[in-house]
């Protein structure tokens, strides 16, 4: 099987599984809630992957974009505007604008300083959210209702919300693939591998990185819109640096090699937490060593697992 088709098989299989999940005995309330959360975090992790895996820049402030998307929902909810066709673009726009503004400064650096500057902007957004007294401050804000879609209450329906999340996740995944394969994506990846050489060929990496950062911010804003609707509650903790860390762990666990890794990592980490949580209240005592072992033995993350297994079989 050619590599490109094999690369498409696993994502297709996963999306088909998610589409069929409600009819495979996973239609119970808590399971659907968990899956929706997994897909939303998958979308957020995918947007972070665009920055970390695509552009090769590690950000520790990505939860701010997610949180700004969620707070856009809050601001419009307070003004009694709940139409998703207005709210979602507003969430995407607000997060993308924040990404472009902060990215313009942060992208002057790379490597560890970039990690710390994105952390700094994330913390500024976090403390700002905590001081918004009219949106509940530290205590957060409970939405009056979920957003409506074209006037109908589609998002209230569990099945409808499930498929909305799935459609947006699959769409964003496809978009990432097309983006990376485009001329834009080629320059982005080349700048990740060797910025000096890219400059020598006549490209400046800066505008490409900034645009990628803005697109990633917009995608995370969309995830924030969905997350606010899933929980019907938004709090400053959405923007905490621990959240940014979690998203980063999902991306690394899945593997940086392909955007599918981010989706896989998000679902795997969430389901693992839930599964271990059913076994024992001290599930972190199991998850911690599992993560360490995953790093020591899975060189390419979860997406690299099939290739690694095949390699062992061939050599062993």
């Amino acid at each position: 099987m050619p590599a490109s088709r094999r690369a498409a098989t696993l994502p297709l299989l996963l999306f088909a599984l998610l589409a069929a999940a409600p009819f495979l005995g996973l239609g119970e309330g808590w399971m659907m809630t968990l899956l929706a959360r997994g897909m939303i975090l998958g979308l957020a992790a995918l947007s972070l992957w665009l920055v970390v895996g695509g552009a090769g820049l590690v950000s520790l402030g990505h939860a701010a974009m997610l949180g700004i998307g969620a707070y856009a929902v809050v601001a419009l909810d307070e003004a009694r505007i709940t139409e998703a066709l207005v709210v979602a673009p507003a969430a995407i726009g607000a997060a993308a604008l924040f990404a472009l503004l902060t990215g313009a400064v942060a992208l002057r650096t790379a490597g560890v300083p970039f990690i710390m500057i994105t952390l700094a902007f994330g913390q500024m957004a976090f403390f700002t959210a905590a001081s918004l007294a009219f949106y509940g401050g530290d205590d957060g804000y409970t939405l009056y209702a979920r957003s409506t879609l074209a006037g109908g209450r589609w998002l209230e329906n569990r099945l409808g919300f499930h498929y909305l999340c799935l459609a947006l996740l699959a769409g964003a995944f496809l978009f990432c693939h097309l983006l990376l394969a485009s001329r834009f994506g080629r320059v982005l990846r080349a700048a990740r591998e060797n910025p000096l050489r890219v400059q020598a060929v006549g490209f400046s990496p800066y505008p490409y990185r900034l645009l990628a950062y803005g697109i990633a911010g917009g995608m995370a804003g969309l995830a924030g819109f969905l997350l606010a609707n899933a929980t019907e509650f938004v709090a400053p903790s959405f923007l905490a640096w621990q959240r940014s860390g979690e998203l980063l762990f999902m991306v690394i666990l899945g593997g940086l090699g392909s955007p599918f890794g981010a989706v896989l990592g998000a679902l795997a980490l969430l389901l693992l937490e839930e599964g271990l949580g059913h076994l024992t209240p001290h599930w972190r005592l199991l998850l911690g060593p599992l993560l360490v072992l995953a790093v020591l033995f899975l060189r390419g993350g979860l997406v690299g697992l099939p290739a690694q297994l095949a390699g062992t079989r061939r050599h062993g």
């Binding site: 650096t109 500057i117 913390q123 401050g137 911690g288």
Partner: protein, 307 residues
């Protein structure tokens, strides 16, 4: 009255800064010399606090507990190096981030399992109870002054070690150019073990000292960790001198910003929004300072690495 308040808060800031330095010193050496991002460094601070507290309770003496906590945290650090970190040296930074996050989860949960999730209270040692009159009508807790003194003494010892011993020369050489050091025939494996153990012990010492003035609870290392990272990046990765100055700066900005800004904002705003805005800007101040410094000097104030 305001001058007194300012003095007290400045002392609090310095004392917080010195604790930050003890944590950040190990972090900057591990990062600078070994090129390892160790998120689990904050956990070693927590372990120091817990081990100090229980050893003090077991022996009946705070001082014995503090003294015994040092070899105990050193042993924990060496064990972690042998079990986990040794296998991460040749991996990229992101792999290290995920693995050390796994270590955080494990140890935070292990601490909860062993000591429970309720905060432990540690009594101030009788010798250092009470306050000192700094100026008429102004008392300052003796124990906090003692932390300041102990931290400064430790910083001095560390400076002697790094600047005036053979091991220190190797440390500085490692932070400046590691492949060259290995090429010159230095056993980097042993050097790394030493650096890691030393860093763990310093963080543990800070935790054990801070136990009487903080609540000892699981996860207490996480908030210190992020500020310690801010410190080492501002100071320049691998530079102990930079970490010292940056730690004092961060400590002062953090404490003074949080305590004074709400009052300062009242000069221009109504009381309630002033409190809100002052509190949030006060908390942001450290990060604003870091973003400004990094935008101008991406390698920090005192970069240790050559080239």
């Amino acid at each position: 009255m305001t001058a007194q308040l300012l003095l007290v808060q400045a002392l609090n800031g310095l004392q917080f800064g010195i604790l930050l330095f003890l944590v950040a010193a190990g972090l900057t050496l591990v990062f600078g010399v070994m090129d390892v991002i160790n998120l689990a460094h904050g956990v070693q601070y927590m372990l120091g606090a817990y081990l100090g507290a229980s050893l003090a309770a077991a022996t009946g003496s705070f001082w014995l507990g503090l003294l015994l906590a040092l070899p105990a945290t050193l042993a924990c650090g060496l064990l972690l190096e042998l079990l986990v970190f040794r296998h991460l040296y040749d991996r990229d930074h992101l792999a290290q981030v995920l693995a050390t996050f796994g270590v955080i989860l494990t140890l935070n949960e292990a601490v909860t399992l062993l000591w429970g999730s309720a905060p432990l209270q540690v009594a101030t040692p009788a010798l250092l109870e009470g306050g000192v009159t700094l100026m008429p009508g102004l008392q300052y807790p003796l124990y906090r002054l003692a932390i300041l003194a102990a931290g400064l003494a430790t910083a001095g010892l560390l400076w002697l070690l790094v600047e005036h011993t053979r091991a220190g020369a190797l440390l500085r050489a490692g932070a400046s150019n590691r492949p060259m050091l290995a090429a010159l025939g230095v056993d980097t494996g042993r050097l790394f073990l030493l650096v890691f153990g030393l860093g763990a012990m310093l963080a543990g010492f800070a935790g054990a000292m801070a136990a009487p003035i903080l609540s000892v609870e699981p996860g207490m290392g996480d908030s210190v960790l992020i500020l310690a990272f801010v410190v080492i990046v501002i100071g320049g990765i691998g530079s102990v001198r930079g970490a010292f100055l940056a730690a004092l700066l961060v400590g002062l900005v953090e404490v003074l910003g949080r305590s004074l800004l709400p009052d300062l904002m009242r000069l221009v705003l109504a009381p309630s929004p002033a409190r809100q805005a002052g509190a949030s800007i006060g908390s942001m101040l450290v990060y604003i300072a870091m973003a400004l410094i990094l935008a101008v000097r991406p390698r920090g104030l005192f970069p240790a690495r050559a080239g």
